[in-house]
């Protein structure tokens, strides 16, 4: 059990999202950085769908009410356990009474905390994710506040080496790149943008502005004009879609995306790169790299292989731990 001592009012309990209710207008919700969410769960031997706490703003402090294992993954934030510095990806044991402190985030924008078996919140409509707009799911349908207690689904600590475990996550920036690269597919109205707009979109960086949350980010860069005007009829949209309202500055829809929208769509970021958007901070530059469906499918295969490598590696580590720890 872990008690929230201090936490800005933007953190929510999330899992991999709520599928199957799109037809009712209900978005998926779920962890913005599903990769870090999965890493935190896998380090504890949890199911990857177990609920974690998503923290998009620090500083934050937690007190462990009982001895438990826990995992931390995501942004670098000078985390300490009773004053002892922790790696940004870490799973280990906390003793009753110990203080977990997260400092300012230096690179990355979201941190995930996992508890053994997952955070114990009720499943609603097939998921434990917080549906912020509708106010249900997760921890009483709301953001976490000081004084809240998060319980693990399992009382026992996970099998971990005493000094803890860490995991290698892919780098947010590719070597030599000033911008975070996002692979994207051309979307419905792509060809209706001017040639200059299309060229700018695929070659120049777009900065993450301060106007961003779980629903989406507003970006700032070369303005994107269309050849055709006129209102579109409302149509389906999904996380990753890059829309361009009349002002010409793009918006990316994220985990709490609406299910329908009406702005022209220039591109769709592929799902395996969502985590990169989630870890982008205001001021960070994003650059879109055009891919086709075949490349998008290959990127999913690549991501699945990475996850399988984590699962196999951590299973082997747990087996080793059982015999020698």
């Amino acid at each position: 059990m872990i008690e929230v001592l201090a936490l800005p009012p933007v953190s929510t309990v999330q899992d991999l999202g709520r599928d199957g209710h799109w037809f009712q207008g209900l978005g998926r919700a779920g962890a913005m950085d599903a990769l870090a969410h999965r890493a935190a769960n896998l380090l504890l031997g949890n199911d990857e769908t177990a609920a974690t706490l998503e923290i998009p703003l620090t500083p934050a402090q937690f007190r462990f009410a009982a001895r438990t294992s826990f995992a931390l993954a995501g942004a670098a934030c000078d985390a300490t356990l009773d004053g002892r510095a922790l790696p940004r990806i870490w799973a280990g044991i906390a003793e009753a009474g110990q203080l977990l402190a997260l400092g300012g985030m230096r690179t990355g924008a979201r941190i995930y905390i996992a508890l053994p078996g997952g955070i114990d919140v009720p499943g609603v409509l097939g998921s434990r994710s917080t549906q912020l707009r509708e106010g249900f799911g997760g921890f009483h349908g709301r953001v976490l506040m000081p004084g809240d207690l998060l319980k693990p689904m399992q009382a026992d600590a996970a099998e971990l080496p005493e000094a803890g475990l860490s995991l290698e996550l892919p780098a947010l920036w590719q070597p030599g790149e000033q911008a975070i690269l996002l692979r994207a597919l051309a979307s419905t109205e792509h060809d209706s943008f001017t040639e200059a707009a299309r060229a700018a979109f695929w070659t120049t960086p777009y900065a993450v502005t301060r106007q961003g949350n779980r629903q989406g980010f507003r970006l700032e860069g070369a303005p994107l004009d269309r050849n055709s005007a006129g209102e579109l009829r409302s149509h389906g949209i999904v996380p990753g879609i890059v829309q361009v309202p009349g002002g010409g500055q793009p918006i990316i829809q994220l985990a709490d995306s609406a299910t329908m929208g009406g702005y022209p769509k220039i591109a769709a970021v592929i799902a395996p790169d969502f985590w990169r958007i989630a870890q982008a901070r205001p001021g960070d530059q994003l650059r879109f790299v055009r891919v086709d469906v075949v490349e998008a499918a290959a990127a999913e295969v690549e991501e699945a292989a990475l996850l399988e490598q984590w699962r196999v590696g951590l299973r082997a580590q747990r087996a080793l731990c059982r015999s020698w720890c």
Partner: protein, 130 residues
């Protein structure tokens, strides 16, 4: 009978835990193992610095702290406290954390990044004032 791999694993565990003598006896088999005392822990005069080996808790490739882990690099000569992260032993993407077993001074000598270490191998020697 004990197979050689079993004996090797027991030896590694002994090294990891600083055990120098071990005897296993049952009606069918008997095993006696002895190791030389860990180097560096020989008695010295009070006040003189001495160094103790930090041994590897497993098999893996050495990765120093301060890369992509969000932690500051360790500066030789700086103080570390017991339990502080010194580096990692990596097998694939999994990283086993190596921590300081006791307070000490960061040494200048470390394994090369990517060097393969086995159970009980010396990761570094941590200078201590006693």
């Amino acid at each position: 009978m004990f197979a050689q791999p079993d004996i090797d694993r027991i030896l590694a565990a002994m090294r990891a835990h600083g055990v120098t003598r071990l005897e296993i006896k049952d009606p069918k088999k008997r095993l006696r193992l002895s190791l030389p005392p860990a180097t560096g822990s020989s008695p010295t005069a009070p006040g003189t610095p001495y160094s103790a080996a930090v041994t590897s808790p497993g098999i893996g490739r050495y990765l120093p702290r301060g890369g992509d882990d969000g932690m500051a690099e360790l500066e030789p000569g700086a103080r570390v406290l017991a339990g502080e992260v010194l580096g990692y032993l990596c097998s694939g993407p999994v990283r086993r954390v190596v921590v300081a077993p006791h307070d000490g001074i960061v040494p200048a000598e470390w394994p090369e990044t990517g060097a393969l270490l086995g159970y009980g191998d010396t990761v570094c020697r941590l200078e201590t004032e006693q």
